[in-house]
């Protein structure tokens, strides 16, 4: 219905300037203001891309090349030695991060979906207060939960384990995922759940058969958000993991901050890019689904 009205408005706008109006429109396409907008946007894009370009160029240079040239100079000799060396350093830590991020993302998204479903469709006495308190969790800074969390992990026997780090990320992420799903499900008409109840569906059947299939866009939002948060996390990683269990962000920090020997900027840059690649990949893959989900979910009576 929204699409239709937009299309109508658009077609009405197309119809209005008839005859020489069409010529005017073509004139406007290359007007100075439009040029200015495009120039500004291109400039902003370039500005944001410069650091990435610098990292990429530096990572494929030899150390001598880095010393003699400047940040944006083209490499004299193209080499992947930085990448190979970087991978040999972060290899184990990269998989640590994968082992932390994937279960934590999946569990927190699943729990958030179930929470959101209950808080929007099966309201109980005090559910608004419950949701309010949960929201409060979104505003808690990481630092404030460090001590209580490490105390709890110690009691549970999960200190310095990957499982412990997963638990911390899940608990911290539930506030956000619940918020996402709850706000998505309040826009779903109650009548759907009522109809399903009369059709004989129970609590989990309604969730699994009716609501989850409608939730692709918000699941994608949740996955992107949680993966970015957990993959990029440094503080929890450095506090709750040690030695070989550390995530890649901590390993990267250790690599860059080593003060012995000559600084190998090409290795640093390559390692930083390896650490950043998975989030980039998630945006590229899930972002596509996200857009598709948005347009497919537009069903209205």
């Amino acid at each position: 219905m929204n699409d239709a009205s937009v299309a109508q408005r658009r077609s009405a706008a197309d119809l209005l300037p008839s005859g020489d109006g069409g010529a005017k429109r073509r004139m406007r396409a290359i007007s100075p203001s439009r040029l200015a907008i495009h120039a500004t946007l291109l400039f902003a894009a370039a500005l944001y891309l410069v650091p990435l370009v610098v990292m990429l160029l530096t990572s494929i240079k030899t150390p001598e090349d880095i010393r003699t040239g400047n940040l944006l100079s083209w490499p004299e000799t193209f080499t992947l030695i930085g990448w190979v060396k970087a991978w040999s350093v972060v290899d184990g830590y990269f998989w640590n991060s994968v082992k932390i991020a994937i279960p934590a993302v999946l569990i927190s998204t699943a729990v958030g979906a179930l929470n959101g479903y209950v808080l929007s469709m099966w309201r109980f006495r005090g559910s608004q207060l419950f949701f309010g308190l949960l929201l409060f969790g979104c505003f808690l800074p990481f630092q404030t939960v460090l001590l209580p969390a490490s105390f709890t992990l110690g009691k549970l026997g999960l200190a310095n384990t990957t499982a412990g780090l997963v638990l911390v990320h899940v608990v911290y992420g539930i506030a956000f995922t619940t918020l996402f799903f709850r706000n998505y499900y309040v826009t779903v008409p109650d009548a759907l759940v009522r109809a399903a109840r009369l059709d004989g569906a129970g609590f989990f059947t309604i969730f699994g058969r009716i609501l989850l299939p409608m939730s692709v866009p918000i699941i994608m939002v949740c996955l992107i958000w949680q993966f970015t948060q957990i993959w990029n996390d440094f503080l929890f990683g450095v506090v709750f993991a040690s030695g070989d269990a550390q995530p890649i962000t901590v390993a990267l920090n250790n690599l860059v901050n080593t003060s012995t020997g000559a600084k190998e900027y090409n290795v640093d840059m390559a390692a930083a890019m390896i650490a950043g690649l998975p989030t980039l990949l998630v945006y590229i893959v899930a972002g596509k689904y996200f857009l598709r989900g948005l347009t497919a979910g537009a069903v209205k009576g």
Binding site: P189, A191, L192, R194, A195, A196, R197, L198, D199, G200, A201, T205, R209, I210, P213, M214, G297, A298, V299, K300, G301
Partner: protein
């Protein structure tokens, strides 16, 4: 096929809040079509949700075929509902939407296919079975929503304002189709609407509600001809009933209502309507006379005895099937429904005739209907309902 009986049903959302439903009593026979009608906020949808089991009741009992179902969960009540927003499952195609309730009831796949085919044929939606709800027009979605209810063959159908999202033309078409469907299937039906035309045309029985109370329960004809109070009289009928403030005169052993038009000199600008004998003390009360627009006619020269009055035409509205003429009686605008070929000039004078037996009298304060003693015998039912 089932009877439905509501016994003293109450619903409230908390001790501090006003009751949403108050002492609802009604019962319908197997195969009857019950309309719940009233303005928004009157509790009609709440009552329907209580029957469906989507909301619990605070007191009373709901009986289907004599068995109390008020403690059962919705899925065990064997009731199907068509929602105002249709509530089709957006990710399932039409076939799966219709089949969902059957699958939940563990029906065999072959039997489900057969049932879906039967319903699709009945509603002429066979060509739409593979489509998603988003690819259907409003009217088609409406049909699918009905199909989903029909497929289960429940004891009772509930319709919650099913036509209010359709455009005017489609609404009239679907109204006829729902009536046709009911005549064919003869399933007990409860239908919520705020549209008094739907209430009049579809229902075997009508319950007019306001503020959580049933104002009147009866056949459409009873509701239309013998409204229990001012609210029912004003809610049912389009154009609405005229309400003219009157004073009474007592003469010859009965009461007379006096009407006067603003017309000064020419013709008869005053008339008295005999109302039969009323209780003493009525003379000084503020009373309201109710006359439906079609019950005011042009006075013919056939020497009929009905009282008549001359009044000046203020506005005419030709609607097509008839012409609405507005005159002023007792300082109140009064609508008369005349034949379409009658198009009196504005400012001209009309001689209008009333049928005294069709005129209703209401108490202005309480809004209750007042009945003349000689007519009380025939209207006993109305009086009973009014008291209830």
């Amino acid at each position: 096929m089932a009877t439905l009986e509501l016994r003293n049903v109450n619903k409230s959302y908390g001790s501090g809040l006003a009751d949403t439903l108050k002492n609802i009593e009604l019962s319908i026979d197997s195969g009857e079509f019950l309309i719940l009608v009233g303005p928004s906020g009157c509790g009609k949808s709440t009552l329907m949700n209580c029957i469906a089991g989507l909301e619990s009741i605070s007191g009373g009992a709901i009986l289907v075929d004599g068995a109390d179902i008020s403690g059962m969960s919705p899925k065990d009540r064997d009731i199907a509902m068509v929602f105002q927003s249709y509530a089709l499952y957006p990710t399932m195609n039409v076939r799966d939407n219709i089949a969902f309730g059957l699958k939940m009831r563990k029906m065999a796949p072959a039997a489900i296919d057969e049932e879906v085919a039967r319903v699709a044929k009945l509603l002429q939606i066979e060509h739409l079975l593979q489509r998603k709800p988003g690819q259907l027009s409003g009217g088609q979605q409406q049909r699918v929503a009905m199909g989903r209810a029909l497929a289960r063959r429940p004891k009772i159908y509930l319709f919650d304002e099913p036509l209010s999202n359709l455009d005017a033309k489609l609404r009239v078409e679907m109204r006829t189709e729902i009536k046709l469907m009911h005549q064919r299937l003869k399933t007990t039906t409860v239908y919520v609407t705020h549209d008094q035309i739907e209430a009049m045309t579809l229902g075997d029985k009508v319950a007019v509600m306001k503020d959580g109370i049933i104002q009147q329960f009866g056949t459409p004809q009873q509701i239309y001809n013998d409204p229990a109070n001012l609210f029912v009289a004003s809610f049912i009928g389009s154009p609405p009933m005229n309400f003219i403030p009157v004073r009474l005169q007592r003469r010859d052993g009965q009461c007379w209502a006096v009407l006067s038009s603003s017309l000064g000199v020419a013709g008869q600008a005053r008339c008295e309507l005999p109302l039969g004998e009323l209780e003493a003390g009525m003379d000084n009360r503020d009373l309201i006379l109710g006359i439906r627009p079609e019950q005011i006619q042009l006075a013919a020269d056939d020497g009929a005895e009905a009282p008549s009055i001359c009044a000046e035409v203020e506005v005419t509205e030709p609607t097509g099937p008839d012409t609405l003429v507005f005159v002023n009686l007792n300082q109140t605008k009064v609508c008369c429904r005349l034949a379409p070929d009658m198009t009196p000039q504005v400012g001209s004078t009309l001689s209008l005739r009333f049928e005294p037996s069709r005129v209703l009298l209401f108490d202005a304060q309480s809004g209750e209907r007042l009945l003349a003693k000689k007519r009380q015998a025939t209207d006993n039912k109305v009086a009973q309902l009014k008291r209830g």
